[in-house]
């Protein structure tokens, strides 16, 4: 109980800092903060599948890329305004996730992971090769957000609201009967099936929801970056949410956010010194998997929760002792 109260204070403090950030931070920091928010949403959509349903997808970049490309194409080709374009991107991401997911959720474990990867790679070759539609490996340039979002601070607040609402929705989804059922199917497929639940259908629904939120993240990124390229659909992009989530702690709701913040900041700092980013990331992942299986937040929670629990028992003991004394 004290844990949830503490996390509520943390959340309020974090929200205040997030709201006040553009008032005291330099534009480059605000710029990085936007990226962190987008990546956090991307990673959290991944974790809906990973921790929520026990499905490790290696092709989540596919939906991020579809979202970014859909928004970019609609805005540049037919001049659609940004908001309907973002909405269309989510619909598109959901549709692609529905088609690919239909095949993927028929498999489990490693097979699932590999098939998601294969579909993402298929999408990557489509985006890279079709010069007429997606500009091939050049991508699409000159994506302009509407005038009132041109200033970096305004785009920051816009992203904060969209991502904040998405977090709230994801929280509600994970804690709804639907989310609980997903958790159950993760822990035991057989038992969940025994109580009459069609696990495959639940997994497909989770896959589509994750795809919708990932493509929303992509659709936020395209006008922010002003350009999209096939890189957004590549396996490197698909590995980002995996690394962020694991780094932050997959078993906690806010883990992907912490991971996204650490990962993005690290990236911003590291590219100033080295181009061997994958080596650094691989090393961190290696150490993380071997020595820090719960991620940063999992580690912290263990420490503090452990301490709080210990304090808790002491207090109960003390209360027990005093009630005994009064009984005497």
């Amino acid at each position: 109980m004290s844990g949830s109260r503490r996390s509520r204070w943390w959340l309020i403090a974090l929200a205040v800092v997030a709201l006040a950030l553009p008032q005291f931070a330099e534009p480059i920091v605000v710029h990085t903060a936007i990226e962190i928010l987008i990546m956090a949403l991307f990673a959290m959509s991944f974790n809906l599948l990973f921790d929520g349903a026990g499905l490790l997808t290696f092709g989540h970049g596919c939906y991020y890329g579809v979202g970014a490309y859909t928004a970019a194409l609609l805005m540049t080709e037919i001049g659609m305004p940004m908001f309907p374009a973002m909405f269309a991107a989510m619909v598109m991401g959901g549709l692609v996730a529905l088609v690919f997911g239909y095949f993927c959720v028929r498999l489990t474990g490693v097979y699932f992971s590999i098939l998601t990867l294969a579909f993402a790679q298929l999408m990557f070759s489509v985006f890279q090769q079709s010069y007429t539609l997606t500009g091939g490996d050049l991508g699409i340039l000159d994506i302009q957000p509407p005038a009132f979002l041109m200033a970096v601070n305004n785009y920051y607040y816009f992203t904060l609201v969209v991502v904040g609402v998405s977090f709230w929705l994801l929280w509600r989804i994970l804690h709804s009967p639907f989310g609980r059922t997903l958790h159950a199917s993760r822990d035991s497929v057989v038992r969940t099936q025994f109580i009459g639940i069609n696990v495959r259908r639940y997994r497909l629904a989770a896959f589509v929801i994750a795809g919708v939120f990932a493509s929303l993240a992509g659709a936020l990124f395209a006008p922010f970056n002003r350009a999209v390229a096939p890189f957004l659909v590549s396996w490197v992009k698909s590995s980002d949410p995996v690394l962020m989530t694991l780094l932050g702690g997959a078993a906690t709701f806010w883990g992907p956010v912490v991971g996204a913040a650490v990962f993005t900041t690290l990236h911003e700092v590291a590219i100033g010194y080295t181009t061997y980013w994958l080596l650094l990331m691989g090393g961190i992942l290696l150490v993380g998997v071997l020595f820090l299986p719960g991620g940063i937040l999992g580690f912290l929670e263990d420490r503090f929760h452990g301490a709080a629990a210990a304090r808790g028992t002491k207090m109960t003991e003390a209360r027990g002792a005093s009630s005994n004394a009064s009984a005497d």
Binding site: F58, L107, Y111, I114, L117, L278
Partner: protein, 293 residues
């Protein structure tokens, strides 16, 4: 389109299938015995190709010695990975194993970039195999024939190793029942290491003999790992003949696809894979139920 064209394309597909088979066979074998999905398999294949370049072109070692040396080096790297890293996560959730091998993909990718840069490299074919065999109008490059023969030899060699040698039989027993084999006093961890080394050796060999086929470049690691997974899945995890059949189908599909419908050639393996997964999730020659891990 003449019969000669078709035959020529067929042979080129067969050569591709030979390389693909070697990689996929190693991947499938390691999975079958050690129960670990080695994402770093493609990275090690790339290391095999680059090491062949180093031995052959930079150091001037004869071709045949180069490919053997490269494959042995890759096997040594693989043994190091298995002993120092992968052993720690046997028995941990599948996700941890995937992530650890995935970390190796990232690390190996950048280490190769550090050592060789991002330029395209190539290894010349050995003089003995630089020519071609003419059969009427049809031209068979000798090197393709060499690859097909190597692939066949490895298939037979693997089979003989597993069915005729003591170590191979013990490994097969360990696949069937680990506890029993451990109870009989066999050193299970070292059996796993041996199996891992064998799979990775073949993988490095694939990189080595594949090197003179086309360019050696950064990024081939990821292209090939996905093709290798597709091959293993189409054939059925753990089935060596299945892997051979799948490598043949995918190699030929690519060869004819790039010729007849270049726009979708790169996507063909995934289309085949999706089709197989829908009809037979456990692969063409795999056992039913293999899809449940």
């Amino acid at each position: 389109m003449t019969a000669a064209d078709v035959l020529g394309q067929f042979l080129s597909g067969l050569a591709r299938a030979g390389v693909l088979f070697l990689i996929a066979a190693g991947l499938s074998f390691i999975f079958g015995v050690v129960k670990i999905v080695n994402f770093a398999h493609g990275a090690l294949y790339m290391v095999g190709a680059f090491l062949t370049y180093s031995f052959r072109v930079t150091l001037g070692v004869p071709f045949w010695a180069s490919i053997v040396l490269a494959a042995v080096c890759v096997a040594v790297i693989g043994i190091g990975m298995e002993v120092f890293l992968f052993r720690r996560v046997y028995g941990r959730p599948v996700a941890d194993q995937l992530l650890l091998t995935f970390a190796m993909v990232l690390i190996i990718h950048d280490v190769v970039r550090l050592a060789y840069g991002s330029n395209l490299r190539s290894v010349p074919r050995p003089p003995l195999l630089a020519g071609a065999v003419f059969l009427g109008d049809v031209i068979f490059p000798s090197y393709y024939i060499f690859i097909v023969l190597t692939g066949t030899a490895v298939l037979l060699g693997f089979w003989a190793f597993l069915h005729k040698t003591r170590l191979g039989k013990t490994i097969r027993a360990a696949v069937g029942n680990r506890e029993m084999v451990a109870c009989l006093g066999k050193p299970l961890p070292w059996l796993f290491t041996a199996a891992f080394a064998a799979g990775v050796f073949v993988d490095g060999l694939a990189g080595a003999i594949g090197a003179p086929l086309g360019g050696i470049r950064l990024g081939m690691d990821f292209d090939i790992i996905i093709l290798a997974f597709a091959t293993v899945i189409v054939g059925g995890f753990g089935s060596l003949p299945g892997t051979a059949l799948a490598a043949f189908i995918i190699g030929e599909a690519y060869a004819f696809g790039i010729w007849l419908m270049p726009a979708i050639a790169l996507s063909l393996p995934f289309i085949i894979m999706a089709a197989v997964l829908i009809v037979r999730p456990w692969g063409l020659l795999g056992r039913s139920g293999g899809g449940e891990l």
